[in-house]
Symmetry: C2
């Protein structure tokens, strides 16, 4: 079974890249489907789940240690339930045994025993803002300043979520097989190469 | 003119990747030739230059500031001369106006106005040690422990050199168009894809 995970900065085009790669390779594709499955498992509303995983996953509570005050990351109970449902959903996807592309949601960490090809997609802030204005229904009407704020919030939530799953840091190149900077690029041009790269990776992995 | 720069962790196969890419694309290739040109310009011996740029580029001198002691990075005079000769050598390469692949030596920063495609090549320590044992004449006879020490020293010198040229940090994915993790891979399989990627990047850059 071949699994490709796409981790991505918000607005970088990682989702489009993953979708196009799955089309080229004929793999199953999982993105927002995961949210629906979590909703079913956890009983929470899909919008609440989306909101929770994008914004409110992590809160900080002040702790004093000796004379030093510091903030301990703390995860609330609903978030815990959602994380558990998310992990089991992603494991169930893998259990189907079909080749697939999974977008975000810690699949790189959760499925590490399957030796996935892990890709990280990123871009300059300017490019990401432009992409949001061009493609995203939710961000089209927002000011540039608000979009930047939203991008930072979502990336920070993604990093935070990752830190619950793994000691390794979200977006650190060492955790990925390939890191693609999409700044100024068209995703449809990049997708065939990224797909080709993944194919070579799998040949190598399977020949071990 | 199309310029590809390859920055790389020691032992990751970045040099081989760059050489193969230049062969595939029919570009000029610059690596150790740069050392010879520096020697000619600066009057220093090639081995001294290599040693200086790999090991002794940066020294730290203790400074006290208020009650705090810290170490200020300091660059010695010979190193300064070598850095200057290196920068002018790299600029002269670009001045020839021919498509080329340049390995390391800050070409990504020095030639930024030419809009090069910047690639960073990296790998797990285990893989890099194995590559050193397999391919490098100098490291073949060394113990694993010594190789790791050497790898860390050289990488640290490369990072240090980069910090003299730019505020941006060596190896931070944001500074590159593509970051390739070569762990477990054969470079000759990766080279055609990396070359293809660069071609697409240039199409895009030229169409702007």
């Amino acid at each position: 079974m071949k699994i490709i995970t796409i981790s991505r900065e918000f607005g970088s085009g990682g989702r489009e890249l993953g979708k196009r790669m799955s089309d080229i390779l004929g793999y199953d594709y999982y993105d927002r489907e995961i949210i629906s499955a979590i909703a079913e498992k956890s009983g929470f509303d899909e919008n609440y789940i989306k909101d929770m995983t994008e914004k409110k996953l992590r809160v900080s509570i002040p702790i004093s240690y000796g004379r030093t005050m510091y903030y301990e990351p703390y995860i609330n109970t609903n978030a815990e339930k959602i994380l558990a449902a998310q992990s089991s959903t992603i494991r169930e996807i893998a259990d189907q045994g079909r080749d697939c592309v999974i977008i975000g949601r810690g699949a790189d960490v959760i499925l590490s025993q399957y030796n996935p090809v892990n890709i990280f997609v990123y871009a300059d802030m300017d490019y990401r803002v432009k992409r949001c204005l061009k493609y995203s229904e939710n961000e089209k009407e927002m000011s540039e300043k608000k979009i930047i704020k939203k991008i930072k919030e979502i990336d920070s939530a993604r990093a935070s979520f990752h830190s619950f799953l793994s000691e390794s840091k979200w977006g650190r190149k060492e955790n990925y097989n390939l890191c693609i900077n999409t700044t100024g690029m068209q995703i449809k041009q990049l997708a065939p190469i990224a797909a080709e790269y993944a194919k070579i990776m799998f040949t190598k992995k399977n020949s071990k």
